[in-house]
Symmetry: C2
């Protein structure tokens, strides 16, 4: 998640400072999340060894930890300590990683390369990859259910929130299902946005909302954070689509141009690259506008929106 | 789950009455669970249609609903109403069905036939089958998290219980992982029992325990129910293994002899059929002995143990 300073040239001085603060925050948050994940995931020495090795291979594959960082940033914006945020942050990363493992399978997107190395099924075989994804989902909900730093009332709210956002018909699995169904036919702009909203947006919104819920944000604040998360999700997906067209495999850590070849519904495929950049700018503005409704210091949340706008991988 | 009366010949008169009561109970419980599942599962008319059709295809494939029935029977034994038991019973069936869908996949057990009809991936393709399983797991935890007939404290206990029993290293996914790893080599009796305990036993124990937890059973009662559930799980797995050797495809609704051909670790493969029947009788006795420690009317729970002992499919 670190950028070279040249990549943030062109932002105003205050934004440059905020970006530097965010980079510092992201480095710390990633360390915290990685240490917590290492603590809660089963050891490779315990049977079934290959399933546990497959889990760790994918969880510690150099992911950006975007969702946990977002949750921590929102939580801290609303005054929460890190302790009650940490397990839910890990749970989100586990859900995200399970979805990557299953999406990469031969019968799904059939990807061999992810974050610069072999995908889970290439390294450990399909059966272990399926089980690793299944187990990560289970572990995510278990982690929150057993989190004694949160009241039981909050734990069930968080589990319901993440389950809605990652399941069907309102979440990630629904998005992947609609995406697969759309591969064989023309897709309208409205359908494309709905697929993205489900596939990527829902879990990003959930990350932002979970941070706010843990921090006891007000209903109005939660509404603003939901809109911020929705625009951030859009921003994230559009940059993802653009990078698939413009980036190199080395920068991306996966095979670029794949969406295009698979005739996937993407923004550049539908609007062309230039109009897609305009959609990008609009989503960024809308994310920042949503933050205007929050009477807290939101520099960190602004910096996250800036960071996604500028990301190269 | 209905037996002809000839199949329960040989049991004492009181056991015959209890068996009749149990059949009546099982019919009602199955109706209740099926209606609740139909209510909470996404409609096939909502996108992604094929994922939702795949979910319903597998959930309504004529399953025996053994885990929900067990949960309801234990819950009612300890005095709970049906209302607070119903959603957790459905959640268990959703977890069980997700595991069947994923276990049947070509890279796992590669089964074409289940409960007398095409398995999920044969009917809807692998991608939809993987997503259907994923979504069923998510829906199970969501259902409990949102169950307003239970306190939040109870909901987190139940979610943690089911997550432990269905995940790794202490649950169903661990069992399936160990089973796959064991396919290529000789397996000891101890390993075989451990695989079964994880793969089948853990979720059956969880079903029994969840019923007791919802009904506010005492610690001592919960301990007795845990032992009862463990013996029931063993009984269930041994009869499953035996049926794979002795039953016809028609009675079984799936391809028999498959375990044998796949050199799977099974009781008959390890001990032979006759010694396996002795293990069966011992597990049945142990399940009944565990019930002696419960000062409630346990006829229904006895009848469940009898029923599994006698089952033909």
């Amino acid at each position: 998640m670190m950028n070279s300073s040249s990549e943030i040239a062109g932002l105003e001085t205050s934004a440059v400072t905020a970006a530097a603060d965010f980079r510092q925050f992201a480095v710390e948050a990633r360390k915290l999340v990685d240490a917590a994940l290492d603590r809660v995931l089963p050891a490779e020495s315990i049977p079934p060894e290959r399933v546990h090795a497959a889990i760790r291979w994918s969880v510690f594959a150099g992911g950006k930890r975007f969702r946990p960082i977002l949750l921590l940033a929102v939580g801290e914006t609303f005054g929460a300590e890190r302790e009650p945020l940490s397990d839910t942050a890990c749970a989100l990363e586990m859900i995200h990683t399970y979805s990557l493992i299953h999406d990469d399978l031969p019968s799904m997107d059939d990807d061999d390369l992810r974050r610069g190395r072999a995908t889970c099924h290439v390294r450990f075989g399909e059966a272990n990859a399926i089980l690793a994804g299944d187990a990560l989902q289970t572990l995510a909900f278990k982690l929150i259910a057993e989190d004694e730093s949160l009241s039981a009332d909050k734990r069930v709210l968080l589990i319901a929130e993440i389950a809605r956002a990652s399941g069907t018909p309102q979440g990630m699995v629904a998005g992947q299902g609609c995406d697969l169904e759309a591969e064989s036919r023309e897709v309208s702009a409205g359908e494309l946005e709905q697929i993205h909203r489900l596939k990527t947006g829902a879990l990003i919104i959930a990350a932002a909302r979970c941070g706010a819920i843990i921090a006891d944000a007000s209903e109005a604040e939660l509404a603003a954070i939901t809109e911020y998360g929705a625009q951030l999700g859009l921003l994230f997906q559009i940059t993802d689509d653009l990078l698939d067209v413009t980036a190199t495999a080395e920068a991306l850590g996966k095979t670029p141009g794949k969406d295009q070849r698979a005739k996937k519904a993407t923004y550049p495929a539908l609007y062309g690259v230039e109009a897609t950049r305009k959609h990008l700018a609009h989503a960024h503005q809308s994310a920042c506008a949503a933050l205007e409704n929050i009477a807290r210091p939101t520099e960190l949340l602004h910096a996250i929106a800036d960071f996604i706008l500028q990301r190269q991988a």
